[in-house]
Amino acid sequence: MLRFFAIRFARALLTIALVVTFAFIVLRLSGDPALMIMGPEAPPEVIEAFRKAWGLDHPIWVQYLDYFKAIGQGELGRSMRDGRPAIQLVIERIPATLALTIPAFLVKVLLGIPAGIYAALHRGSAIDRAVMITAVAGFTVPSFVLALLLVLIFAVQLGWLPSGGQDSWRHAILPIATLGFGGAAVLARFTRSAMLEILGQPYIRTASAKGVPWRRVITDHALPNAAIPTVTILGFMVGSLIAGAVVVESVFSWPGVGRLLVVAVANRDLAVVQCILLLVAMTMVTSNLIVDFLYGLLDPRLRSKGAAA
């Protein structure tokens, strides 16, 4: 088990390093940050000074190594725009994002999983078909389209809710609905197919043949098995708590991490972009580790394999 997690952990670190590298390369290749920030009319000596100040005059591989060294020391750089520590800028925005993504996550789980189970248990019924049509709509329609649609109906037409901003809880309803509905759709479809597969397994028939009442066949025999694949998708959703709202935050001008990222990318604010990417990679990787751990808890077949190590 220990070895199992040591390997996972090493892999997680490697993933983060790759993400940082990727971000570094893409951002440096796509334009000169000094020109972007100072503007094309800035005098050459100002640009030169800016470059010196940020270490942009060093060869690219030195910049790369320096960057890694800094990250190792917990130094994530300062925003090139206002000179504040990038990490601080990002942390300031996290509560706003979580205020959207955590309720949205609850919506996904509380709506998606029961809907998927219900649809599977009543396969072919009118409700099953309704759930599936809604689910397909939910994840084929891009979130910005859904967001605009909701704004059109509830803000413009009905005038019940504000279309953007962050002044009261009412401002959060449409963004949460947008995020939650799409995720619930994915989760419903996933849960349904996992349940259907489990319900076809011979051990479900064995349980019925033993005289276990159908309701308990579902709760005691089917659900613990269906939980195993569902955890994967839940882990992915937990991983996107920090940065899963880029589009929605932009549409609803919600001042979260996602919006910060969009602005920072547009401005070539390298430190901020890299800081966010690092944060995203870390949440993703952490949630993957949690998923692996949950797998071990849920599936004894994996557990004994790990124990043999």
Binding site: P202, Y203, R205, S208, A209, K210, G211, H221, P300, S304
Partner: protein, 324 residues
């Protein structure tokens, strides 16, 4: 004596395609009855239908009575008291027949709680006794193990222990040894006949293997395309099969001793249930078929000495091969 289970006119259809065309079968107390037939003959479907274990889309008609009480269409609560308690069932693929995420103890104690109202320590002691009975070594330690930690033969033993937990009057064993190696198959069949003797339990042994059925059953029913085509005491059926299909099955089995002979292959294949021939379903593959065979389905006609055959031209001459 009234039979333990009486199945009459049992019919099953999937999506409008009939797969079982009226089965009549009595199981007496303590009796061992074999059902043989190839895939698609309806031997498993008969018992899944009888116990209400088929998916909801299956249309089931006819009657299945346990001690005179109708099971078809009975409410779920009634069936739950029959399944596992009066009639238990074990299946072919032991590896997937037990729930992979629950311990053996949980799965055994579940049956004990449902049917014997045993809980906690009492259930644990009884579970141990059952595992001991079916020959699981070191049962106390292995009670907390999961199914994947056992070999196929051991899982089938655990399945049998679970079936015995409700002290049933009838055990349906659906191809219990098909997935197992020959020497393990012998162990499981031995165990089944031992527990049957000990508890005076009736058994229905469903198998495609004539040898397995012949050795372990009192009576045998041969099924073909959703019907019973011959019913006879086990020894008599194999010494002297009457139905051409039963003869064909025995003739197709290579002998293990004596002179080698060319196998009597039955020509053609099992008919698709959607395009069943009119008349006797076996007629297109039968050497003895005449025009009348294609005209109507021959009924399972009782004959002398507990035998019945559904054939217009039963071949009642002893076949030389049947003596082997």
């Amino acid at each position: 004596m009234a039979p333990l289970v009486r199945i009459s006119g049992l019919k099953v259809a999937f999506d409008g395609t009939p797969v079982l065309h009226g089965i009549d079968l009595d199981i007496g107390k303590g009796e061992a009855v074999g059902l043989v037939g190839e895939s698609g003959s309806g031997k498993s479907v008969t018992w899944l239908a009888a116990l209400g274990l088929l998916p909801a889309k299956a249309k089931v008609a006819g009657s299945v009575q346990l001690d005179g009480r109708e099971l078809l269409g009975a409410p779920g609560a009634v069936l739950d008291q029959v399944r596992g308690r009066r009639i238990a069932m074990i299946f072919q693929d032991p590896a997937s027949a037990l729930n992979p995420v629950l311990t053996i103890r949980r799965q055994l104690c579940e049956s004990l709680a449902l049917h014997r109202a045993l809980h906690g320590e009492a259930a644990r002691i009884e579970a141990l006794r059952l595992l001991d009975l079916v020959g699981i070594p070191d049962a106390a330690r292995r009670l907390s193990a999961y199914p994947h930690e056992f070999s196929g033969g051991q899982v089938q033993r655990i399945m049998i222990a679970m079936a015995l937990a409700g002290q049933p009057d009838l055990l349906i064993a659906d191809e219990p040894t098909t997935a197992l190696d020959a020497t393990i198959q012998a162990q499981i069949l031995d165990l089944l006949s031992a527990v049957r003797r000990e508890f005076n339990m009736a058994m229905v042994l469903i198998s495609h293997d004539l040898g397995v059925v012949a050795e372990n059953c009192d009576r045998v029913c041969v099924m073909y395309a959703g019907r019973i085509v011959e019913r006879a005491p086990a020894t008599r059926l194999f010494d002297d099969p009457w139905h051409p299909y039963a003869q064909g099955l025995i003739g197709a089995l290579p002998p293990l001793d004596g002179a080698r002979r060319r196998l009597q292959a039955i020509p053609g294949t099992v008919p698709d249930p959607r395009t069943l021939p009119s008349g006797c379903a076996f007629a297109p593959r039968c050497h003895h078929a005449g025009d009348d065979c294609h005209a109507g389905v021959p009924p399972l006609a009782p004959s002398e000495q507990e035998r019945a055959v559904a054939c217009l031209r039963p071949q009642r001459l002893p076949v030389e091969l049947a003596a082997e």
